[in-house]
């Protein structure tokens, strides 16, 4: 009886810890989101480059970037606690996690003045249909990384300004 109880206890413990053998969270956890590149032309003077972010909006046209981010209707890359996209480069590659769903507007946004709430403008949008000025919407599925989200930013030819 004693040995039987002991055996049951240790078998039970073994079964409990079995799920722990996969080491849990990993640095290569499957990302749901988008990946692609941002190419740049005609960089503006450095004193107008306060910040540069990739912003993905659920709706188009959006309200101000700041409010949309705060209300959860827009996601920025890199995250707000981190430095922005690199500047004065020809191209940047990005990989961005997103919740599954539809997003109507993917845009590179520049903060051109000191007011973090208001001084933003669109400088390049994801657009695969160049015959109109509307951005191209994307749909993200669970566990899928949507590739080839490539954006051209030409600071001399800015896209429509929805905010």
């Amino acid at each position: 009886m004693k040995a039987y109880c002991s055996l049951i206890i240790f078998l039970f413990l073994f079964l409990c810890v079995f799920p722990a053998c996969d080491h849990g969270l990993s640095p290569t956890a499957e990302i749901t989101g988008i990946t692609g590149s941002i190419s740049y032309l005609n960089w503006p003077p450095p004193d107008s480059l306060f910040d540069l972010r990739l912003v993905v909006f659920k709706n188009y046209p959006p309200d101000s970037i700041f409010l949309e981010v705060l209300t959860g209707n827009a996601i920025v890359y890199p995250g707000l606690g981190s430095p922005g996209l690199p500047v004065n480069v020809e191209m940047t590659v990005f990989e961005m996690g997103l919740d599954p769903g539809e997003y109507e507007y993917v845009v590179v946004a520049q903060q051109f003045g000191p007011n973090v709430k208001a001084d933003w403008r669109a400088v390049g949008q994801y657009d695969t249909i160049l015959s109109d000025s509307l951005p191209t919407a994307i749909t993200i599925s669970q566990g899928k990384l949507l590739k080839e989200i490539n954006i051209l930013v030409d600071f001399n030819h800015l896209p429509p300004q929805p905010f």
Binding site: S6, F10, S26, P27
Partner: protein, 731 residues
Amino acid sequence: MMNRFVCFLTISMFLIHPLVAGPGVIKGKILDGKGNPLESANVYLKGTVMGAATNDQGRFEIVNAPSGNFILTISMIGFQLQEIPISVQEKDMDLGSVKLTAIALQSQPIIVTAGRQEQLLQDVPVSIGNVTSEEIEYRNAVSVNDALQYVSGLNLTGSQINIRGSSGYSRGVGSRVLMLLDGIPYMTGDTKETKFESLQINQVDRIEIVKGAGSALYGSSAIGGVINVISKRIEPAPLLNVQLYGGSYADAYYSQWKWTDKTRLLSGVKFAYSNKPGKIGFRIGASHDQNDSYKKNDWMKRYYLSGMLTIEISPFQELRFSTTYMARNGANFLYWKNLLNALVPPDDQLDDKVESQRWHISADYRHVLDHDRFYTAKIIWYRNRFDDNIGEEENLEGNQSVSDYWDGEFQYNFTLERHQLTLGLETNTSQVSSNIFSDKTGQSGALFVQDEFKWREVLAVIPGFRVDYFSLENVGNDFQINPKIGIVYKPWERSAFRGSAGRGFRAPSIAEVFTNTTASGLKVIPNLALKAEHSFSGELGYNHFLGKKIFFDLAVFYNRFWDLIEGTFNKEANIQFQNITNARSIGCEMDFSLSTWDDRIYYNFGYTFVDARKIIYEKGKSDISDYLTFRPRHLFYTQARFSWDDFQIGTDYRFISAWDKIDENLKIINDYDKRVPAHILDLRFIYSFFLAEHSLKTSFQINNLLQYHYVDLVGSIAPTRQFVLTLSGDF
């Protein structure tokens, strides 16, 4: 501050009767059924404040016992409580050897928190958790929160405690669990948070946890439960306790997370010396902990000094003073850079540091008037100071705060036929001087009453209520009435049904009302309209000691919350604490313990299910909505121990399901939503031995043996595998 303390002492001294010297010494030896000495058995002279605990040879001594006829009570978990009538004369009384009868693995521990008086576990109408000093020692807990994380129904988010889904995570501000030190509130004056690390763990006798709203006896903050840290008694014989530990962290399982080639170490030394040569007892202690941490910019150094003085004014009166000073200096890891750099903070946080000091002085006076009446008076001063450099790189000054918390209470207990009554008054003051919380003062006063009415031999009804009045500078006054009722029904020997219902509340902290700061371009602004959050809690439970070796406890519970305070964005996109959430949590809990093979094998598990959801009101109707943030739905903790003579091997396994919902405001953190369920396996080997008649113990512990990685906070990986070697001894 000091003036108030001197005033209290003066009043205390007026209350004190002339010193009554007791003539007798009661001594003896407590043994188990096989004649082995029992260590840490409690021996108590009923109707007095006098008692002792047995040493490692089972011996006890109560000095200065008064003349007369008394009942000597001997209790120890696992053994039948024994009461011996004795007649104390003017000479030493040696009881010789007293054998206790083993009755069950877990006989009923005595609980003092649930009803503000001593009660057996089965006489308490709410669910109780109990962490003994043996368990603290067994698990090599470095601080109080280390010891709490194995209690069923509890889990820690960062260092913030969550009991049965009552609390999420709010960077510690506004805890919904009230922490007590020896029965008196021990919360910071500015943020009203629990700072478990500010107490020296080797001075703790036990920790009691009330798993439900305790506001009807303890007031604000006890909306989700109460944790009472009870200090060790000072025994008559001189005792030097020394503990040394050292260890290291293993590299994370994934090489991508390796950020240094240096071994990350942790170490510490603790000592305490106590003695009670006559009527005066004292204990002094000091300790130091150092931790390099497995994360970059997360190191910590901590120092403690502590003291306790007990004065046995007479066999019926005791005055006790205690103090602890803690200084902590460390880096401040807020969250990771991203999942690929999970053990490294963002570049702009690499130099974040925090210095803090915490200091308390408390006094506690107890007077037993006769077998049926006693009163206590307690006062505490608790200072919390911190100073960080967060935001300095943005040309902002860091955050500083100094808060003083004063609490004083008077409690009178008496028995009237079948009624055991508790009456009390409490008052407290919080004073804050801070560049983020501003310079403010808050005050409160309260009256509480409880009646434990033994209606039948098998049935007790325990009604009670508490009235709280509180005021906050520039905000105004408010008051709360919190009633409760509890029922305990014991139809069979060693079985008890319990039921309880009560109201709870939490007044907003000074930090929640007045915080005014800017960080990362976001502004946090005050909210002078913030009001208290409140709750209703109900529980039904049943527990049973089956045979001599099995104990189980079942409980179902329901909590309803109104006006929960959360930090959120207002229309101007500024962060503000607001009363925005109504919610309910519903769940069940089961505890099971088994001992077999002559107690060589001990097994225990606890499972808790909590479904905590928001409630949304629309068009006059209420709807159950999304999950509350940072509440795991499933907690499963289990442990097994095997003992053979002086060796012991033990293992703990904990499963904590992943949070269903996290705070969306934390999207500023890269990969903020990456989380998995937690599976944590710890393994321990312990060897106890005697060296020149001194009791020594060495243990080797491996925490997170399987190198399982999970987040214990958004963007914060929980500790990697850890090896710790400990040596402790009593001299």
